[in-house]
Amino acid sequence: MNAIKPLEILLVEDNSGDVRLTREALKEGKLRNNLHVISNGMEALDFLHRNGIYIAAPRPDLILLDLNLPRKNGQEVLAEIKADDILKRIPVVVLTTSQQEQDILKGYGLHANCYIVKPLDLEQFISVVHKIEDFWLVMVALPSRQGGNS
């Protein structure tokens, strides 16, 4: 059974090529979703706090966060999200190109819900996006939708 409301996904990513790839992958997926794309860390936080032009922004069900962002970097954004009493409940999937041990450690240390290294291959990238959807938006029970979507 599909959700009545489409799921709100916030993608914080500055690489427009990757944004498009994520969009295409989500289009091929099963879930109705609204993808909100913000390309820098400061605006992402404005969106989440509903500041200024984002006053009517929906609360995301899931945040996909790239670490390499201009100005406020992904790790700082992550830290601020997980320090906020309301925002910290939103699952954050760090989706990034770095497979350096120190970045992975830091991500989990800042309470990322999970850390995924972007696959180099298109098919795998699409598959990863679908698996993120399946896991975080179907299987997992999220605060605003008790017991998943079935």
Partner: protein, 292 residues
């Protein structure tokens, strides 16, 4: 003396400077004495530090190459693949072939970048050496190659192998590359690979023998160079860095590597590893930490 220790002397004006001390026995009429030589190592230390800095920079440069260059490559590969998927019906066979070559080129570039990084790491990583059982090393290499060994029905045998002071990770890599090549270049019949080791006063001489396609004598040196290949990629895949890495590892340990081969019969790769560990500066830093 004092490998791994920082020793300092002091000038009369209380200025400290690094020193090296060496001791040698001296037979005299009064019995065994020790002669000690103390050398001002300031110049040596300075050049060591310069080397360390340049290594750190090389390592950073290699990381930049391998990491930052991969993103644009990923864009090329992903979007060409997406193009193919989305417009498959509108693309004729020429278009598909053009896209294929573009994607293939990008993927090969990615492999070469990864290989270059691996190659540069052999020289720049601090070499931690320890007493290593080469039988265990061989077993680990075989475990890593398990899938390709069973798919190709290859048989790997070995004589007893020694325990010596080396960097285990690099020696696993060395042996794994040699066995992997033996499997890859096997020709028509299943690969039969034999590893043995023999000691002479200074070195252990290892050999990895196969029954594969062999190598012509005029190419015996070239195969150890980076990205030098003797066959087309269609015949045998790979970037041509495996043996260059082997050579770097062996030389870093103070040994030599070479091949003896007969076309159509097979090849034997020989390499030496000194019995008493020594480390060479092939653009590497010589901090070594001996645990015996």
């Amino acid at each position: 003396m004092g490998v791994g220790l920082e020793l300092y002397g002091m000038h009369r004006d209380n200025d400290e400077f690094p020193i090296e001390i060496s001791l040698s026995p001296l037979e005299t009429e009064e019995g065994l004495l020790v002669s000690a030589a103390i050398r001002d190592a300031t110049a040596h230390k300075r050049s060591e530090e310069a080397l360390k800095r340049s290594n750190a920079e090389l390592e950073k440069f290699a990381y930049i190459i391998s990491h930052d260059l991969q993103e644009p490559l990923r864009m090329i590969t992903s979007y060409l693949t997406l193009l193919q998927r989305r417009y498959a019906d509108n693309l004729d066979s020429d278009a598909n072939e053009f896209i294929y070559y573009a994607v293939d080129g990008a993927q090969r570039m990615r492999l070469m970048i990864q290989d270059l990084l691996a190659y540069s790491r052999v020289g720049t990583q601090a070499l931690h050496i320890e007493l290593t059982d080469c039988e265990t090393v061989l077993q680990e290499a075989l475990d890593n190659l398990h899938a390709s060994i069973s798919e190709s029905n290859s048989i790997v045998t070995h004589d007893p192998l020694p325990t010596l002071t080396v960097n285990p990770t690099q020696i696993i890599r060395l042996i794994q590359n040699l066995i992997s090549n033996a499997i890859k270049f096997r020709g028509e019949r299943p690969a039969q690979i034999h590893i043995s080791a023999r000691r002479d006063p200074q070195n252990w001489l290892f050999s990895v023998r196969d029954n594969g396609i062999g190598i012509e004598p005029q190419y015996a040196q070239r195969i150890f160079e980076i990205f030098q290949r003797l066959h087309t990629r269609e015949q045998y895949p790979g970037t041509g860095i495996g043996l260059a890495i082997c050579k770097r590892i062996v030389e870093r340990h103070g040994g030599r590597i070479w091949v003896e081969s007969q076309i159509g019969q097979g090849s034997t790769f020989y390499f030496t590893l000194p019995v008493f560990a020594q480390l060479n500066h092939i653009g590497g830093d010589d901090e070594c930490d001996q645990t015996a």
